[in-house]
């Protein structure tokens, strides 16, 4: 069974930090359509702090995810701190001290992250939030795994579902968060949190795949 050596995979978090920072303006712009236009600012603030806290040499992935979670909890507040903090905190906890990440562990990690977000945020898929990217991504990963597909393919399915999930928010009415102010008028644009979450899941998928060893 193929897997990722977790001790060598801390760089996945660095790649997430870079992805968020590269999309800072774009995420704020998306949030500006029906939110208050600060999602990129908020995310970039927390992720940049995490990047600075990772240290050199990079810690193993579980530790790196915990550093990221702590930076979000301590650095950004609002809703994103607890939501993404819970996501990465639950992921880190699931990995624990495992040496290698294989497909089943990855599936459990994603599922734990999803549950962490749902527990703290009390939103549901369909509310036009980051869950609409995260939940289908988890489901797609599990489905691919159940169908016996190799780990790399499970990751690709997961990333594709995250993107599809993000796009599905375009036709939704926001039921939580700032955009819920707009009711029917919140339809027609994708959700900012779903966009950042998709970006994060794509980065995780690509980062893990390239670190896959036989």
């Amino acid at each position: 069974m193929r897997g990722v050596v977790l001790a060598d995979a801390g760089g996945v978090v660095v790649e997430m930090v870079d992805a968020i920072n590269a999309n800072r303006a774009k995420l704020s712009e998306i949030d500006g359509a029906i939110g208050d236009g600060d999602h990129g600012i908020n995310m970039s603030k927390g992720f940049t702090q995490a990047g600075a806290a990772l240290g050199d040499p990079l810690p193993p992935l579980p530790k790196a995810l915990q550093v990221l979670a702590d930076a979000l909890f301590e650095g950004i507040g609002g809703s994103m701190g607890p939501l993404y903090g819970s996501l990465f905190g639950a992921m880190a906890e699931t990995l624990g001290s495992a040496p290698v990440l294989d497909a089943p562990l990855c599936g459990r990690m994603l599922r734990a992250g999803l549950e962490g977000v749902e527990e703290i945020g009390s939103a549901k898929p369909g509310d036009k939030t980051l869950l609409d990217s995260l939940a289908p991504a988890c489901d797609a990963f599990d489905a691919a795994m159940a169908a016996g597909r190799p780990f790399a393919e499970c990751l690709r399915e997961m990333a594709a579902a995250a993107e599809k999930g993000r796009d599905s928010t375009r036709d939704m009415i926001a039921r939580v968060g700032r955009a819920s102010r707009l009711g029917e008028r919140s339809r027609g644009v994708v959700d900012a949190g779903a966009s950042s979450c998709c970006l994060i899941l794509q980065t995780i998928a690509a980062g893990l795949e390239k670190r896959l060893q036989a």
Partner: protein, 334 residues
């Protein structure tokens, strides 16, 4: 955007620094730049009274740290909850060994961050109990009161909780009084113009000229209706029609009434509104024992006003009347 700021991303840091410089006789810094405390906190043997919330509502939240009110405050970005860590550090800054009452407002971010902070505090043996303000009537039907936002009623909740703690009450008692305070309190806002978060640079909602948004929230959350602006006396009547039946308030009630500007509304207009409010309440056989008129809980430079009414029993009356000294609210016993 004509504003008095340096770096728009650092408005909170810059303002808190100025606040600490100006009011060293009242407040002091902590190790966390997003937490300020009463200059004597933690006071041994006293229940700590804490709140926290987004910035841009000044004098809320930090302006209510003082004698007879709050011991510490966690400070968030503009219109954004403080971090769980800041709430936690505020608990520690207020803890005088008899536990901490965290009295805050019902917003998604605050709920999440307080929950995490309380868990963290209890992990090292610090007992924190919470009261969540949900006084904003238009934000949900009465059957779903738990969903309602906390607005300017928080000020009265802090006043009551702070006064109870100053009397030497224990944590259960402080929590019970603060809970009673907010359960006896109802609010409504009317928005007349939008506001701009400096880091964003443009308003993220709008109210047209000549229109008003009835039931607006403190961050521009949607109200129950947008309609043409009407005379102040009709605004007063409209606000009372929402607020009075909700508790319900009734003839014979003694009240505390708080009319707060949202930021840019001239103070004289608050008194024009209050003139009518006081008349109507009197006409219904209620008595305003404690009126508070001014900018108690604002939303940057929004125009508009909030009305908050609390029904007093003997205990609430005593606690609202108790002496207090803070930037936002001072009661001198004369």
């Amino acid at each position: 955007m004509n504003r008095i700021i340096n770096n728009p991303d650092l408005v909170v840091e810059d303002a808190v620094r100025g606040y600490l410089k100006a009011h060293a006789d009242l407040v002091a810094p902590t190790g966390n730049p997003r937490v300020i405390r009463h200059h004597l906190a933690p006071r041994q043997g006293k229940v700590g009274v804490v709140t926290g919330g987004g910035s841009g509502h000044e004098p809320a939240f930090l302006g209510y740290v003082g004698d007879g009110i709050l011991d510490s405050v966690a400070i968030g970005e503009i219109f954004s909850s403080p971090t769980a860590k800041s709430f936690h550090d505020a608990f520690v800054a207020a803890d005088g060994g008899r536990g901490v009452a965290c009295l805050y407002g019902n917003y998604a971010g605050d709920n999440m961050n307080v929950k995490l902070a309380v868990k963290q505090a209890s992990a090292h043996g610090l007992v924190v109990k919470t009261v969540v303000a949900n006084d904003d009537v238009p934000s949900a039907p009465v059957a779903e009161r738990a969903k309602r936002r906390g607005v300017a009623g928080e000020v009265l909740m802090w006043k009551v909780g702070g006064a109870r703690a100053a009397e030497g009450a224990d944590l259960e008692q402080v929590i019970a009084s603060a809970q009673k305070a907010i359960d006896s309190t109802r609010s409504i806002g009317i928005g007349l113009s939008a506001c701009t978060i400096p880091a964003v640079g443009k308003p993220n909602f709008s109210i047209d000229n000549g229109m008003m948004e009835v039931g607006i929230g403190h961050h521009g959350e949607p109200g129950v209706k947008v309609s043409a602006i009407c005379p102040a006396s009709e605004m007063a009547d409209l606000m009372l029609e929402h607020v009075l039946p909700d508790l319900p308030f009734a003839a014979g009630d003694d009240l505390a009434v708080l009319v707060s500007g949202l930021g840019a509304t001239p103070i004289m207009e608050l008194y024009i509104l209050y003139d009518r409010i006081s008349e109507v309440l009197g006409g219904k056989g209620m008595k305003v024992r404690h009126p508070f008129i001014g900018n108690y809980f604002t939303s940057l430079e929004m125009m508009g006003v909030t009305l908050t009414i609390m029904r007093l029993d003997a205990e609430l009356d005593r606690l609202v009347a108790a002496p207090a000294r803070s930037l936002g609210l001072t009661k001198v016993v004369s």
